[in-house]
Point group: C2
Chain length 473, copies 2
């Protein structure tokens, strides 16, 4: 298929220009003030043309519990998250679709799914998510969420002399599943990539991290993990390693230009230097960090230190939506209250670059570290992952600064058309490969039903959590 987008509004360094863009196969093949119409012609006038954004951290199965968990800090919220009736691969398939569609509807063309695995059905879970993303046509990076220590180990003990209990699967079993997943599902050229994605230092052993590094090196896989989301984790790292979690991950060789790190709320200046030196990417999830009371990631410091930053929605049970524009808006603005000097604040243009190019770099697909294909900017020869926003929709009117309004406003029904790998997967504000009404009916029918809240698990964990975090009992 080929497309000619006519007369779209496209940002320059400081203003806007009107241009035509020609897509053939998977690539942008021409950009010029005026091109001859070839293939399907798309009227881009009064539309803003941007590279697609990356939803750089989410957990698709959480869709089934969105809205359901009360405001708790991460460590207690997790006990609620896991206290549910089992999901099935059908659920996984549908929640991947829902995650993909909401990401698309808010300007995303790539999703990074740190995929919670169904116990005993690990490969089936991955297969179902892959099918879901293929059903929508979005570009997906799937990082099966793995850990080899008992979930209890994620809360500090208030003691450095303890051993984490074992998880259900041992390190070798987990790495074997991952190796199989890579063989079966890792098809970057077809838009589906597998990542190594240990959940985080709070539940993973050193051998698991090392095994992931090895797999990543052998198969050229991106690396992804949670990092220092909460103060409790900062405390836990000191108990576990006697040093910061960042220094420990560096020692294990996990940090690299193809490593993206979700949250990074509780890092100090020395940690930030390590991220910069290793070329690691921070995935900022501002809404989840507020919802769980985790804190404000020092994003202005990351920007000043030259650390690459991208945006994520995080899973739908800690946000509780997958609207990337909302994450970008809050991720741009939240930091204004952390620095009185407005000259350091992020701008809408910077935020858009972080969401697109920052996201691509975090997946080793941006210009700087590109190995395979290229994403994140509009240039000839790049992969055609791009989005046209309708500037005549109510939420993007009146005519002022399109990027300012897209980022700082509250866009609704703003995406008109999207392409991923040259295929038009949104047209006229709707996904092209599926019916929204059918998706809604399927989500409705598969809803989990009543869940006991708070769960007995939460009540069991709460007293210990309050004690170790210094909260009144």
């Amino acid at each position: 298929m080929s497309f000619t987008i006519k007369q779209a509004v496209s940002p320059t360094a400081t203003g806007y220009e009107i241009l035509d863009l020609y897509i053939e196969g998977e690539e942008i093949q021409a950009i010029a003030p005026e091109l001859p119409p070839r293939g399907t012609v798309i009227d881009g006038s009064r539309h803003l043309l941007l590279p697609g954004f990356v939803n750089a951290h989410t957990h698709s199965p959480e869709v089934w519990q969105r809205g359901a968990i009360a405001p708790y800090p991460l460590e207690l919220w997790l006990t609620e998250l896991y206290a549910i009736a089992s999901l099935t691969p059908d659920h996984i398939y549908l929640s991947a679709i829902a995650t993909a569609v909401e990401t698309l509807l808010s300007g995303g063309t790539t999703v990074v799914d740190h995929l919670i695995l169904l116990p005993g059905q690990e490969l089936e879970t991955i297969a179902a998510a892959v099918r879901g993303y293929q059903a929508v046509g979005i570009r997906a990076f799937i990082g099966p969420l793995i850990y080899d220590q008992h979930p209890d180990a994620g809360i500090p003990k208030g003691d450095t002399d303890w051993q984490p209990g074992e998880g259900d699967l041992n390190t070798g079993q987990i790495l074997e599943i991952l190796e199989t997943a890579v063989q079966r599902f890792h098809r970057p050229e077809a838009g589906i990539s597998i990542m190594v994605a240990p959940t985080g230092m709070q539940l993973c052993s050193d051998p698991l991290f090392r095994g992931c590094v090895d797999l990543s090196d052998r198969h050229n896989l991106c690396r992804h993990t949670h990092l220092l989301e909460t103060k409790a984790q900062q405390q836990l790292a000191q108990e576990k390693y006697g040093c910061s979690a960042v220094a420990h991950l560096e020692k294990l060789g996990f940090l690299s230009p193809r490593t993206s790190l979700a949250h990074c709320v509780w890092l100090d200046d020395a940690d930030i230097e390590i991220l910069a030196a290793t070329g690691s990417t921070v995935v900022h999830n501002p809404l989840s960090n507020l919802r769980l009371g985790s804190g404000i990631a020092p994003v202005l410091k990351y920007a000043a230190a030259g650390v690459n930053v991208s945006f994520g929605c995080d899973g739908s049970a800690s946000n509780d939506g997958q609207d990337l524009l909302e994450a970008i808006k809050i991720g741009m603005m939240l930091h204004n209250i952390t620095d009185a000097d407005y000259r350091h604040w992020l701008t809408p243009r910077m935020a858009v670059e972080m969401a697109a190019l920052g996201g691509a770099r975090g997946l080793n697909l941006g210009d700087k570290y590109a190995i395979a294909d290229r994403l994140g900017t509009l240039h000839i020869g790049q992969q055609a992952d791009l989005v046209l926003y309708d500037l005549q929709t109510l939420s993007l009117l009146p005519k002022t600064d399109p990027l300012g309004l897209l980022v700082m406003g509250r866009p609704t029904n703003a995406v008109a058309h999207s392409w991923v790998r040259g295929e038009q997967i949104m047209a006229g504000g709707k996904p092209t490969r599926l019916e929204l009404a059918q998706l809604c009916a399927d989500l409705d029918r598969h809803s989990l039903g009543a869940i006991q809240r708070p769960s007995p698990d939460l009540m069991a964990v709460e007293a210990h959590y309050r004690q170790v975090m210094g909260l009144p009992i």
Copy 2:
């Protein structure tokens, strides 16, 4: 007109019930598990029924600059806001409509417009806004934004020995305009109320505040003002009064159960006690406070002290949308990072109550202080200002906790039907009294066009601002 809403999902103290509700004239006349269908029958099944929310602080004319002003702190942002070509009453009419429609689309049924007045056309401005709100049918409180000191006076001087310069109109002229506005436009029984709304202590003399108190007493008007939005204003109050702005406003008699105070970011514990003792309402505008880097209002402290709190979007140039659900979401979550003890955090149910009943109380229309009609809860005899949310829309699926998902999710196209004063002003997701497409075309046609940024005014003010705020020059 009368309506019977059948089988809607309605929150109880801790869960939900299914009920029928009968509206006749302007009032809710019956609520029961099952009512005979009378008048127009509305299928409320799979819809969440809530009292309408109050958008408790905005400035409708800012619609014309939304997205256009770069991230600056309030004092510099204001110089950009005023550095524009003049608006006309036609603009005021359209931006009131746009503000009303976006408020309606996000669950609001009442808007508080702290209305920026066109110089020399003050009464025409108010008339245009009144026409705008009547064109939509929303309940409106219009507080003409007045001040009698020169705008330069709004930035601290770094000196307590100075006199603010005069504004364009003197105190007497302003109060006269206001008195005329009350006579011409104050029709609370028809859904349009005038408020006394001096912009804030930063630009208003004591005689102006006293004149407003007098007008408010004589005509039974609500009082509204900005209060301690920025650190600069806290500093300015010390220069101007030698005490906190709150203590000074109390001395002037401005604080009362019919007073609502926008922002309240920089209050200390003694100030909070004064708000509680006077029955004043805080209007929390979390998005604007982030966008302008003003800080985090101590809302958990307000809640603990028993101060009534409601939510506002603030003007569209400091947010830059009028989505009330977005303000409620961030206003609920933002405070989690200010208090490590999650037992103090707001819940979705609390946030919904603040947005509805809190908003009504701030306008002297809630149960506690009710003088005239009643709003903010669903009870027999109350004004029928209510909203049905479609629980089968993508953003409110799957079926989990409807209030949790409405507040913590990212609702899109969620409002199906709304009533104000018993009239259905939203039906099937659309305003009933006007065409959205026509509004979009009108906004498009009236756009202001290119504006020089940064403005010469900003550059003139910036050096002084940086010096007095202790920022490097």
